[in-house]
Amino acid sequence: MNKFTKIVFKKEMMDTFRDKKTIFSSIIIPIIIFPLIAFVIGLGSSDMVKESKEPVQIALLSEENNELEMFLKSNNNVNIIKTKDYRKSLDKLDVKVVVKIGEDFDEKIKNGEKPEISLIYDDTSQKSEMAKSRIEQIILSYTNHIVVRRLENEGINPQILEPVDIKSSSVSKEGGTGLLLFSMLLPFMLTVWSAVGGIPAATDLGAGEKERQTLEPLLTTKANRMSILMGKYFTVVLAGIIATIASLIGFLIATKINPEFLGESATLSIKSIVIITLVCLEMALAFSSIELAISFYARNFKEAQTYLSPVSILLMVPAYLTMFVDGRAVPEYYFHIPIINTIGIIKEVIVSVYDFKHILITTGWNLVYIALFLIVTVKMFEKETVIFRN
């Protein structure tokens, strides 16, 4: 970094981080967004988890005493509520499901006929739907009991119903479902933040400078245009990196608030962190220059914001497209597509796949974009029609 670039960089860093708007959008928002999501998800899911651990509240409609009624009454997972108007109770969710046992239930069971059980529930309510599934399982355990009894009466081993023994186990070293979520959200978040994290700074350093009318005196100092531009460029890059780190901190806080957000065992090795840092830095280097170029092209702050907002939307598309790509099977051609290649690398290292050929291809392409975008930015900054557009 030459002397003038250092002076510009130092001043811009100080100026940028004295700006409440930039601190809010580059540090505070990325830090609070994930804990907020985790908290809201946690609130919703903990309510459902609580519900699933409590006995299912049912209303029972039965003409006479029967074996199933006894079975349900004795089951600790069932709470039978007495109600005069079961439909009203179901509406209010005082009962989650109504179990209607058909006539002559025991008699029909004894004779090998099929007595009817109706489950009345509200399919617009998640709680009622969940209760219906739980009560189905409970009734199924009762019917299994009858099947076993019938087979034994016929002298048949009930084991006949289970011709194979299915045992499942995951080969994943760590993680499980948590890791799956982790590998979906983390690449998306890191890629987006490292690319767009510098936008607030870029807006202020280009269009903001024009609007304040500080660009003209700046261009008549001894510092040449390249040094000024580089000082500003490194500031935008660093702002992008700080925003990415802030979002990572937010991510960690989110996992503390609600461990089920990502799974407790989702961790990253040092090797993974180094590779992720490398590709994210490449993203920040590439996008910062293009953001700065757009900002310098804009006549004022507002215009820069209008031009820069599609950049975020542009990034969301590949990020969403690759959301469900498996880290163990990222197609080879993905590593030749901008943005998607960076997401691909992060997805791989999360599931401990370290393919250096992929890293090399991605880094190679990213270096091409960085060089290309920088050339465009330098050309733009040297163009009188861009700098003095207003």
């Binding site: 002076i7 500080t214 003209e216 005196p217 261009l219 008549t220 009188e384």
Partner: protein, 242 residues
Amino acid sequence: MIEVNSLSKHFKDVVAVDNISFKVEEGKVFGLLGENGAGKTTTLRMLATMLKPTTGTANIGGYDLIQEPADVRGEIGILFGGETGLYDRLSARENIEYFGLLNGMTKEDINIQIEKLSHSLEMKDYVERRVGKFSKGMKQKVALARSIVHNPSIMFFDEPTSGLDVTAVRIVHKFIKELKSEGKTIIFSSHSMNEVEKLCDEVGIIHKGKMIEVSTLEGLKEKFKEENLEEIFISLVGEKNE
């Protein structure tokens, strides 16, 4: 000294400045007088190396505008527009220091200059405060200090009093007079006859990109047999408009 030779600037089909030449002796104040859009700002932007001339060149403080733009920049200080152009989140000192550093000064020299300038511009009380909440007059003083911190021998002022109140205008006028007494060479653009009459030794009247008259104030008055500069200007520009 400033010597402008056949300077032109074209923006696509528009000729903003058309083959102008003039000379400003050392220690003199040259007033560039013209209507809005006459080409004053474009001329000053070219002289300040911000815009590349389409044709022609200038010698500024002994350096060629085209061949040695970096050296030219070391010799000049600028104040463009009535709006001050400062960084609101930096203190007055930080604003001035930034431009001093970018002009190759050491921190020690900058501190000596800030001390001197904050005394002469009476801004000692607020030099350490952030400029965001300053009044227009206070900001104007900081901008003046910023433009002169590196002690340039040549100053360019482009309509430095437009949009300012009476107090701020007086600050600028006083400052320009002080610079003149220190022997600095100044080009001052304005569309106010009164201002030009008050401050300038020589006047160049620019109209539709062309320099239509260059003379001392006395020379103009004698040539047009008219004491009122405004009348002279109208008769010159009016003639060209017809």
